[in-house]
């Protein structure tokens, strides 16, 4: 049975490899101008390559051939207008296409810059590319829609009956979000309005956290470990909180119950309260990003330990250290599994608490 299963697994991977138009070009030989493609192992770059966003989805490098899934590049340049093409045109960052290239040096490293005919950088275009992170998020959205729309269908079909199948799997988590997060944090009467947002937030974060731990395409994109993603989520919480702020909420910010000299002539307390309004989503953004980024980083650090030892003390040392590395990586992965749930819970809980504050009545 196991053999059959593993065969199926291989077939599954092969299917993915073949179904996406794969670009494979021989990597440049040693001594190439691009450091990232030189054969020498540089741990920092290796780690960043695995945790950071990218314009293509790297699957594997066999020998000197990179196997990647190309992703759309969408650019707007002040000089030449809109451009849209696949990332395969960049040839893994080795060539310049339509006067655009991926920078490998300096402060713009990793970004797309526009160059003129002479090869001089003339500026950064507005970059709206579907990067690896965005593609990963889109894939998670497809999964979420599949899971929850089918759960909703089954919930509709089986009204008044016991839940079954996928509905049975997600219902306890929905109930957890409702009874352990929304109700205590917002209050029994007002929580219903926020349930769709809290549920979407919780499941989006949870699914992306978990998907980020699976290192095989189409999983493995470090979505929730990307600060732009967490910033977007935090901005949603920020917007929902302040759009729902009642009179009491705004009074507590601009005219809190403190001695007059704290408000006039210098509005000390209002400044502190206002900074709190911004700090709350900011903390949400940083917490999720840092936790997920750190988890992914530590795993890759332990793996790169093998190659560091291999380089410093020979292949035998690398081999000797590999069991330790693997055990540590496994341990960190297990920890990340836990962290995935905790961070989804914490983000949702804190969002719910902020909504509760925005909706609180004077007492």
């Amino acid at each position: 049975m196991k053999a059959i299963k593993s065969q199926r697994y291989t077939a599954f991977i092969l299917f993915f490899l073949l179904s996406f138009s794969i670009t494979s070009t021989p990597a440049f030989a040693e001594g190439d101008s691009h450091d990232s493609h030189s054969k020498e192992f540089i741990p920092g770059e290796y780690i960043m390559h695995h945790v950071a966003d990218a314009f293509e989805w790297h699957l594997a490098t066999i020998g000197e051939t990179h196997i990647t899934v190309p992703l759309p590049i969408i650019l707007y340049s002040k000089t030449s207008g809109w451009h849209a093409f696949m990332s395969s045109k960049f040839d893994h960052g080795n060539t310049t296409y339509k006067n655009f290239r991926i920078s490998h040096h300096g402060e713009n490293s990793g970004k797309i810059e526009e160059v003129n005919q002479q090869g001089e950088v003339i500026g950064l275009p507005l970059n709206l590319s579907i990067t690896k992170v965005v593609a990963g998020a889109l894939f998670s959205v497809v999964l979420l829609l599949l899971i929850f729309v089918s759960a909703a269908k089954s919930a509709k079909r089986r009204t008044g009956q016991a839940p079954k199948g996928i509905q049975n799997t997600v219902e306890p988590i929905i109930l957890f979000v409702r009874d352990e997060i929304a109700k205590p944090a917002i209050g029994d009467k007002k929580y219903e309005k926020f349930m769709p947002f809290l549920l979407t937030l919780f499941f989006f974060i949870l699914l992306n956290n978990l998907m980020g731990l699976i290192p095989i395409f189409p999983f493995g994109a470090n979505v929730t470990g990307n600060i732009a993603v967490t910033m977007s989520l935090a901005l949603f919480t920020f917007a929902v909180t302040n759009l729902n702020g009642n009179k009491h909420y705004w009074k507590e910010i601009f005219n809190p119950d403190v001695p007059m000299w704290l408000k006039f002539p210098l509005p000390l307390m209002p400044i502190i309260e206002l900074s709190g309004v911004i700090t709350k989503p900011f903390v949400l953004m940083v917490r999720l990003f840092a936790n997920m980024m750190a988890g992914h980083m530590i795993v890759t650090v332990f793996i790169s330990l093998i190659f560091i030892f291999g380089k410093l003390m020979g292949t035998a040392a690398g081999l000797a250290i590999s069991p330790v590395s693997i055990v540590f990586s496994l341990f960190i992965l297990m920890l990340d599994l836990l962290v995935s749930f905790i961070q989804a819970y914490v983000f949702t809980l804190l969002s719910a608490l902020y909504f509760g504050m925005a909706k609180a009545e004077h007492h």
Binding site: N127, L128, S129, A137, L145, A152, I174, P196, A228, V229
Partner: protein
């Protein structure tokens, strides 16, 4: 430190993606799921409360039953007691009546006996008187056959008289 600066493109797409996800899931997933959950909860709560009600009713019925049984028992006791009282009364009445009757009979018997006795006594007296006259005749006849005995008799009679 590129990875701590949010990328505008990612932020842009993520906001659109999450916004659309929120709208779609809200309409097609969360609303039906949450309504179904609520409906089920209310139906369960209703079922539980009606079960409670039924239990309460059964309890009431039981209490009613017990009440009825208790009343019946009481009535039974009362009837038995009445019957017993009646029996006692009847017995007592019969007894007094019987004893009165008996006494009457005894008194009548006694009277009759007295009367019979009286009659017997008077009869006996009469007969004794006759007999004694007869005896006296016979004795006198025998005693007065000779002279000596006549004299003795007179003497005895005189002795008696003297004594008196």
């Amino acid at each position: 430190m590129g990875f701590v600066t949010p990328d505008f493109g990612t932020l842009f797409w993520m906001t659109i993606i999450f916004g659309i996800l929120l709208v779609i899931l809200k309409k097609f997933a969360w609303k039906p799921i949450l309504t179904a959950l609520k409906e089920r909860e209310t139906s369960i709560a209703n079922a539980l409360s009606s079960a409670d009600k039924a239990r309460e009713e059964v309890k009431d019925l039981k209490a009613d039953h017990e009440k009825i049984i208790a009343q019946a028992k009481k009535e039974k006791d009362l009837i038995i007691k009445e019957a017993r009282d009646l029996k006692d009364k009847l017995l007592a009445e019969a007894k007094t009546q019987a004893s009165g009757e008996g006494q009457k009979i005894v008194a009548a018997a006694r009277q009759q006996i007295q009367a019979e006795k009286q009659a017997a006594i008077s009869e006996m007296r009469k007969q004794i008187a006759d007999l004694s006259v007869l005896i006296a005749e016979k004795v006198i006849q025998k005693e007065l056959k000779d002279k000596a005995s006549q004299e003795n008799l007179v003497e005895d009679l005189l002795k008696d008289l003297k004594l008196q």
